[in-house]
Amino acid sequence: MTAKAGKFKLRFDFWSIVKYTAIVLLIVFLVYPTFRLFFLSISDNKGGFTLKYFKTFFTKAYYYRTLKNSFATSGITTVFAILLGVPMAYITTRYNIWLKKTIDILVIMSLMSPPFIGAYSWIVLLGRNGFVTKLFEKIGITIPPIYGFGGIVLVFTLKYFPYVYLYVSGALKSIDRSLEEAAENLGSGKLRRILTITLPVIMPTLGASAIMVFMSSLADFGTPMLIGEGYKVLPVLVYEEFMSEMGGNANMAGALSIIVILCSTTVLLLQKYVISRKNYMMNATRPPAVIEVSKGKKLLLTSLCMFVTILAFLPQVVVIVTSFIKTNGPIFVEGFSLGSYEKIFYKIPKNIANTFIFSFIAIAIIVVFGMLLSYLFVKRKSKTTGMLDVLVMLPYVIPGAVLGVSMLVAFNKPPLMLSGTAAIMIIAYVIRKMPHTVRSSTAILYQIDPSIEEASINLGVSPMKTFFKITAPMMAPGVLSGAILSWITTINELSSSIMLYGGKTATISVSIYTEVVRSNYGTAAALASILTVTTMLSLVLFNRVSKGKVSVV
């Protein structure tokens, strides 16, 4: 009897406090804004119920075309990313080509680079006044315009194919040699082996990476905004509807946001139930053999891979180079100078400081909460924590621009008047980047044997103290590496920032955007260079901390 009585005692222990605090915060800052957005989308100006915004969306070409455009750009990008990523992954894992390390590093850097510098750089190269465009004009060749559908797909593909490359390389390396040897032993030729064994085995991974490409393209705001011009995709339309000074329509923006969320949710569910169904857990004791090829072949394969890699990495080079070119207003002129840097440090030092301060605070919160929450999800499983898990992961399907809109809608009047403050930016960052940290922390926790904690408890240390003395230090390297990756994506964050920034809270990425819009390419380049260099340094730090044990994707 005594044993049972204990169960019904209401216990406000440490973990309950964590659990309920997290629930309250998520309801206030995630659920409530999303609901506000939803109600906005189905209410008319007098507060009555209406579906006219959705009706407008699906009847007016101006609106529904963006949905088509979003799917077209994301879909085509995904196809191209697979066509680039899979062969490259196969070549680098199976052939003894040169520069494998360099390729990996450059590809990772391209993936982690600020999201819109691709668009910026390709405009600088191939835009109306682009370097390459002008060069070709001199010899009488007109290059087709980069703006619109083609430009978006080009930039997306080069930016996101690394997902496919990195995921698939990982999968290809983890297939045990014996699998293909068995197929060969059973009389199957090389092509047949690839088609019947290798490809099916990596299929789930390939699917997961394809979804990553698709979702990232679908949610990307900066690239289509800069390079799309007349060719509008959904996130851009959300921004314009909400922000445009003349005739902006918050309700319409709400309806658009709901449609975006539905799209990405559908895609994610599709992945969950179609692709992740069959996942082959593998741990190669003998990784596949690397095939030695002749010098000529080796050179050809290396050049092919390096060509794609350099193309993907090019924007970062362009940004850094152009940041040192002399400018005269919007025009680049002959010669080098530090003028662009002088301008930004003189004009907008605050924005630079904001970026780092906001991101740092956000990451600190994310790390603490991420570790505690993942612990709840793994070790204190219950219905409540299951619900909490779903809540925390919700931002996966909410693009930054949409999250920004929802928070603006929710917190633009008392009691929580947050718009224009630093707090709303930091909260948005925390909510947006939390899923990644929670996911990686959860994975790390699952690898820690439960008996290690039990050993500590058994030696007389309470469960809560055990978490801080044993579990947390063991999780730290993994979580820290994850935090560095989140840090990188946070300093580069544009889509939610552009919705939420006020006069005093603009960040570097917001400034880059506004500078590009004003055709101040020099200052934009200088700002982008700061982000690029910080990103590179952070990646170096990441490598140090993770010791190659944590993957960037």
Partner: protein, 361 residues
Amino acid sequence: MSYNVKICNVIKRYGDFTAVNDVSLDIKEGEFFTLLGPSGCGKTTLLRMIAGFNSIDEGKIFFGDKLINNIDAHKRDVGMVFQNYAIFPHLNVYDNVAYGLKARKVPKDEIHTRVMEALKTVQIEDLKNRKPSELSGGQQQRVALARAIVIKPGVLLMDEPLSNLDAKLRIQMRTVIRKLQKELNITTIYVTHDQEEALAISDRIAIMNKGRLMQVDKPTTIYQKPENIFVAGFIGTSNFIDGTVTKIDGDMTANIKLNAGLEFSMKLKKNITGPVQISIRPEQFIIKDANEPGISGEIQMYTFLGDFVAYEVELSNGQTVNVNEYTKDIEFVRPIGEKVSLTFDTNKINVFTQDGTEVVS
């Protein structure tokens, strides 16, 4: 100070499944007590209930006079050695062993003396600055042991501590554990599925199956006088032969007729007639020439194992039995196909009821 451990009618359920079913044990102070059984028999569940990692659904557990049902795991004063050792990977050997003492706020000087003493006891004082990743399996095992005994717990629990070691090291470590336990005179509850290990190391063994206790006894008794067919089959190898008690006298001398065709008489403890099961260990069979009285059979296969030869003998009723013959007693290995006659000493066999739940000899 070591406790005696009293377990009274303890039950653990997981949904419809009863993992530990009404188990009662009385473990003496300083005793080396082993829970032995096949995987899934509830032995580890019971151990974890004693440690405080599994709640006790029904029943009571006492350390000495103290009821521990509602005491948190970290306040129970038990040492535990885990199957995978559970060495803290981010702490070196010294800090691993000192961990429990620090939690108990033992003064620093005393921590040092006690840690060094514990490391010395398990013979790894040279490794005190090593990281766990630099230790072999056997060394990690010693760290786990040192960490558990350094806090001088009232009870020491061990969950299959040797199962991850190779065969040679396993035998070496089990001697280390046995000596250490006697030296420290600490009440020890040891879980294993390895019957040989249990026989070698324990003062007493509790054999469990499907959550229930099958028998609690000294190793020799368990081996020689199993209380039921499960124990007879689980410990060592036994041949089970069907027979019938055709009549039983007032002084309990029963006449037993084996289906395989031998009739003999022996004393039973219980007045029963009708079908029974007889268990005979391979080494208790005596192989004689075919013309002598006994169960007649034919050698089907032999395996020469150095100190003895293991035969498979097919009896006249088609049943195959295992028979061992020691090399020192024979001059040659019997060829396949040889007709033989098997006999045994009735003092060395056990007779069970037909359902196997009760011994009657």
